[in-house]
């Protein structure tokens, strides 16, 4: 097939990807956008297959069959609460695909004919001209080295992120020296990339890049946990895109470059949004611990004798007379699988004429938009899900706020106590409401490890226990009232 026709169809595929993402700017057009994007993918794959000269379909068919099976089972079986795990895995697979493509291209261009995997380690005599004339060869080698580096660290980093989200790995391990250890690893990997560029036949250097990058991915993500996960997932999402774009430079393939850079920017923008929402720099999330600020704050001192607890039926009486209620969900709602129960409570309130909205903090949950997906699953209309900036001015006119499974994002210390570790982090000002109901298992601190003075305020009621059970009891009491 004519190269120009192939590239023209790649261009159409690229445009369809762009239209697909454009569709995602509105919930109404999002499904159609996703379809357009999938159509673009189909076009790109079909034209690639038609354009191949000497094809042996054995491995292609095997890979497509295995991949389709695994992909569709994952996509159809996964629970909405586990979506962060699914995205973490997909990030990792994206990185792995770029890694293996770059390696395959490397060995093909080298002209090496390894018969076994062990022979992949045998050095070959070659210079950069094997990869393209003049500067093109050097650029191709740099692109191969960087794709291998980023692809490999995205692969292992994402697998660690998955293991942490799935709670298979609970502890945090890091390299001795923390960020310095990681920096040394990264420098060593870059030196190995440079070696490959200077001496393309130095297969040992390429294998070193792979090994160092795989380890770096492990060490980068292992020390990070809990509420910092949204940042890590968004960043790895970006890496998988960058790796794809770099692979586009290796193959001189336009559609890979377009698609990869769109994904790369998407991940970076989400990363930035998450960091801003925590008032922390990316470096602080990746390498720092939450600073143990100034003097330690004694939880007993904050709470002693000041915490009021309540039973679900008492809360139901409050809700019955309320005019406006705002529900603030957090990761605890996902853990308790309480999204359907929450929707039923909202329905019961609305049946009594109460205005109900949801206040969503950007970092609530374990990935960007996590709460929105859970509540959409429970059939909450998306226009009831209100962003932080728009819901905050309304708290003063709100009778009751129900906080379920959220903690740090409601902590007034972030607003009022200068010198507190979370000072400056934007929060939901739930304490401005007339009454705050907090559904929580105990007074244990959130990810930041800080006591929350909200719990001790005069107009705050603590409902202890399992989130789902407490909400169901409120709904029952409200319906009987």
């Amino acid at each position: 097939m004519n190269e120009n026709i192939v590239n023209f169809i790649y261009l159409i595929a690229g445009v369809l990807f762009i239209l697909g993402i454009k569709g995602l700017t509105k919930p109404k057009t999002a499904v159609r956008g996703n379809m357009l994007s999938a159509l673009g993918m189909l076009l790109a794959v079909v034209v690639t297959l038609l354009n191949m000269n000497t094809v042996d379909y054995t491995f292609i068919v095997a890979g497509v069959v295995v991949g389709s099976l695994v992909g569709s089972v994952m996509a159809l079986r996964i629970q909405m609460t586990s979506m962060p795990q699914m995205v973490a895995l997909l990030n990792g697979f994206g990185g792995g695909a770029s890694l293996t493509i770059a390696l395959a291209e490397y060995y093909t261009k080298l002209g090496a004919t390894p018969a076994t995997f062990a022979e992949l380690l045998h050095p070959v005599v070659a210079d950069s001209s094997a990869f393209g004339a003049g500067p093109e060869g050097t650029v191709a080698l740099v692109a191969i080295g960087l794709t291998v580096l980023i692809g490999a660290l995205t692969l292992t980093g994402s697998l660690v992120a998955f293991a942490k989200l799935q709670e298979l790995m609970k502890k945090s391990y890091g390299l001795p020296g923390g960020p310095i250890g990681n920096a040394l690893f990264l420098i060593a990997a870059l030196v190995a990339v440079a070696l490959v560029v200077v001496e393309p036949g130095n297969v040992a250097a390429m294998v070193t890049v792979v090994a160092l990058a795989l380890l770096l991915g492990l060490f980068l993500v292992m020390p990070i946990g809990g509420a910092d996960m949204p940042v890590v997932i968004a960043l790895l999402n970006s890496y998988s895109g960058i790796a794809a774009a770099l692979a586009g430079f290796i193959l001189g393939n336009t559609v890979l470059i377009i698609a990869g850079s769109l994904v790369g920017t998407s991940g970076l923008i989400l990363t930035r949004i998450m960091c801003v929402a925590m008032n922390r720099s990316l470096a602080n999330v990746l390498f720092g611990k939450m600073a143990a600020g100034g003097e330690t704050i004694d939880a007993d001192e904050v709470y002693a004798g000041k915490v009021t607890s309540a039973q679900p039926d008492e809360v139901a009486m409050l809700l019955e007379t309320a005019q406006r209620v705002v529900i603030v969900p957090g990761y605890g709602m996902a853990m308790a699988q309480a999204q359907h129960a929450v929707r039923e409570l909202a329905d019961a309130m609305e049946a009594k004429g109460v205005e109900v909205e949801y206040g969503i903090h950007p970092v609530a949950g374990r990935m960007p938009g996590h709460m929105n997906v859970l509540l959409a699953e429970a059939e909450v209309p998306y226009d009831k899900l209100v962003e932080m900036d728009r819901i905050n001015p309304t708290f003063e006119d709100t009778d009751v706020v129900i906080v379920i499974g959220a903690n740090d994002v409601t902590n007034p210390m972030a607003r009022d106590v200068e010198g507190s570790p979370i000072y400056g982090m934007p929060i939901l000002n739930v304490d401005k409401a007339k009454t705050v109901v907090v559904i929580k298992r105990s007074l244990s601190p959130g990810f930041a490890g800080l006591p929350n003075p909200l719990f001790a305020m005069d107009h705050t009621l603590m409902v202890y226990g399992d989130g789902k059970k407490a909400v169901v009891e409120m709904t029952t009491a409200l319906n009987q009232a």
């Binding site: 509105k26 991949g67 996509a75 293996t100 500067p135 929105n372 959409a376």
Partner: protein, 93 residues
């Protein structure tokens, strides 16, 4: 060199386009955005097909290609399906 500079231009312009597009996606759709872009990054399937199916390549290269095809297909199929599943929930009222 001509081709390289064109590819670079494409890359830079796509980055700017990406910023313009993604900043318009509302927070409520950020999770489908991530899974949807996962599917798009499965475009590496195009490169994987070339590596897996080239009859002239040594077997080991084809096997690397097979791994790439498998992983990229998981991204494409899994990514689009799960995104569609989520978006269908946002659509209904």
């Amino acid at each position: 060199m001509d081709i390289l500079i064109l590819l670079l231009a494409l890359f830079v312009l796509s980055l700017f386009l990406g910023v313009e597009l993604i900043t318009k996606v509302p927070p409520t759709l950020h999770t489908p955005l991530m899974s949807g872009t996962n599917a798009v990054s499965g475009i590496t399937l195009v490169g994987a097909l070339l590596a897996a199916g080239n009859d002239g390549s040594p077997m080991v290269v084809n096997i690397l290609g097979f791994i790439a095809v498998t992983l990229a297909t998981i991204n494409v199929v899994g990514g689009y399906l799960v995104t569609n599943r989520m978006l269908a929930m946002f659509k209904r009222k």
